[in-house]
């Protein structure tokens, strides 16, 4: 690991002052950043330790919830209000990583996770995300875990988070603090597609600090009919090949509103809006779910190694919707 200057801050103002220097990064749980620094993928000159900021609260916000950026993933998943109002969030968080990692990882950090692409992680390999202009190793390399939506010729990496897939489905809002004060970023706009600048993962500005994630009160209507399905190679402690966050508002067997987002398929948590359109106003039955799955996978493009994700994604959506419709219980 490259030497870095260490700064510990105990208030937001000090954090925002410290971050303005070149090549400086905030350090929260460290479960991804330290990992990347050990592999020399990240080489910050300065780390600003924000773990002692008062951003760990989870509080009611007009019937919704405000999740502190520094609340631990495990505490968030197990918070009684999260479990009651947004079981999808609880399920998604608990599907990710391991208990030890979730105990260290924070909500803000979860949003800032970088891709798990093999080529990104190995500094001996080409990667446009790590080193712009060096080429994409995965494009014609081994791409089993890579994107089928929204990829570019520069990058076919996927976003690794589970929690973010649920946040995308529930229209969360990211609250940030910067030199110009506070602003909010709708979740759909937080992460980016790779385009020609795969090195930029998010629309958070370099000098901004995530302070909280807001879950709208309106999204609590999915609490009775939601499910996070994660399909992976082993039963636990593995990244998703494909995941689906599904939330349904159902009355008298009819879907009033649907939310579907996917993980493991794109450079950002992938909101399946076409699937949602195919679900809204329809009967909550298998035929509808199949139509939604077909709609969701339109435009998907696979490589030699990840083509299976298109069919898998289709089936995963049907399964997730089926379980969600069944009060979130396995069928």
């Amino acid at each position: 690991m490259k030497p870095f200057a260490y700064t510990r801050v105990t208030n937001q103002q000090a954090a925002l002052q410290a971050i303005v220097q070149d090549n400086t990064k905030f350090l929260a749980g460290g479960t991804n950043l330290i990992d990347l620094m050990k592999d020399n993928v990240e080489q910050p000159a300065r780390l600003v330790d924000i773990n002692r900021l008062e951003l760990t609260q989870i509080v009611d916000q007009n019937g919704g919830l405000r999740l502190g950026a520094l609340a631990k993933n495990s505490d968030t998943a197990n918070h009684q209000l999260v479990r009651e109002r947004y079981p999808l969030i609880t399920q998604a968080i608990l599907a990710g990583a391991s208990p030890q990692l979730r105990n260290a990882a924070t909500n803000g950090g979860n949003l800032m996770q970088r891709t798990r692409c093999y080529y990104f992680y190995d500094v001996a390999m080409p990667c446009n995300k790590r080193q712009p202009g060096s080429g994409c190793g995965a494009l014609e390399g081994f791409s089993r875990i890579h994107a089928i939506f929204g990829a570019s010729q520069q990058c076919i990496a996927t976003h690794p988070s589970d929690m973010c897939v649920a946040l995308a489905a529930l229209d969360a809002v990211v609250r940030v603090e910067g030199p110009q004060g506070a602003r909010t970023i709708p979740f759909a706009d937080f992460h980016r597609l790779p385009g020609d600048t795969p090195q930029i993962d998010t629309n958070l500005k370099r000098d901004e600090l995530i302070t909280a994630i807001d879950l709208p009160a309106s999204a609590t209507r999915f609490s009775a009919h939601s499910y996070y399905l994660k399909v992976r190679d082993r039963a636990s402690y593995a990244f998703a090949l494909v995941s689906v966050a599904a939330g349904l508002e159902i009355s008298n067997g009819t879907i009033r509103e649907a939310r579907v987002a996917m993980g493991g398929v794109a450079h950002k948590p992938w909101r399946a809006t076409r699937a949602e359109q195919a679900l809204n106003g329809q009967r909550a039955d298998e035929a509808t779910f199949h139509r939604a799955a077909e709609a969701a996978m339109q435009g998907a493009q696979g490589t030699e190694h990840n083509r299976f994700k298109i069919e898998l994604g289709r089936r995963a959506i049907v399964r997730a919707l089926t379980i969600a419709a069944n009060n979130g219980r396995s069928v």
Binding site: V9, L27, I34, T90, A104
Partner: protein
């Protein structure tokens, strides 16, 4: 330098197990030497209230230039340490290379195996991804701190009884993880395999729950059935599994 007598841990006591008289003697000799490297300076703190002092004394920011050491205080297995650490040093390397507490294992160094699991404030984390500077003022328990003298923690003896290990390398991480996991269950936490996360209250610790909740600790020898049996026995559930 730290005071070796004060720093005697259950590890060095258990090494005196008469099965291993030679090893025990070697431990004693080694404990009398100092770690190499030179930039770490450890001293036992004078007060038991060291941790509170640290918190109270924390200012709005603590700054260290690159490549310079940072002073921190840690309480490890009941012993207070004042240390100067390289900001890059993980808790794992600090324990193993500088405090001579190698019971915490390095298996992958990237949060992918769980061998380095320790308890910070009673919660389990991967010490490999934890910079020591970040944990300034923390209370840490490692595998060396679980037994009370010669009396093993119930999970430690259950792991022996149920063959919860073979090579023993993942074992400290497994046991620390299990200690915290049982506490998490008592606190009413749910897991990926809990059928309805909306329901409050204590989740029954079925085999499937144990397996999921212990999946952050890889055992390459394949002692999982024994691990599950040991944990279920200690948790008061029937230890019906394992060969």
């Amino acid at each position: 330098m730290y005071d070796n007598e004060e720093n005697t841990t259950p590890m060095s006591r258990s090494a005196a197990n008469n099965e291993f008289p030679d090893l025990a003697r070697r431990e004693f000799l080694k404990n009398s030497m100092l770690a190499g490297g030179g930039i770490f300076v450890a001293s036992r703190l004078l007060t038991e209230g060291g941790i509170n002092e640290v918190s109270a004394a924390t200012q709005s920011s603590t700054v260290s230039p690159a490549a310079e050491t940072v002073s921190i205080k840690l309480r490890v297995n009941g012993t207070n340490y004042g240390l100067k650490v390289d900001p890059r040093t993980s808790l794992l390397d600090l324990l193993r290379e500088n405090l001579d507490l190698p019971g915490t294992k390095k298996g992958c160094n990237h949060g992918q195996c769980g061998a380095c699991t320790i308890l910070v404030g009673g919660r389990r984390i991967n010490s490999c991804l934890a910079l020591a500077v970040v944990y300034d003022g923390s209370e840490i328990t490692t595998i060396e701190g679980l037994a009370r003298g010669d009396e093993l923690h119930p999970l430690q003896s259950a792991f022996i009884r149920h063959e919860g290990f073979q090579c023993g390398y993942c074992t400290p991480g497994q046991i620390c993880s299990a200690v915290a996991m049982l506490k998490e269950v008592d606190q009413g936490t749910v897991s990926h395999v809990t059928e309805d996360v909306r329901q409050p209250g204590r989740v029954a610790l079925t085999e499937i729950e144990v397996r999921e909740r212990m999946s952050g600790n890889i055992c390459r020898c394949g002692a999982y059935p024994g691990i599950v049996a040991a944990i279920r026995e200690v948790s008061g559930q029937a230890a019906g599994t394992g060969v």
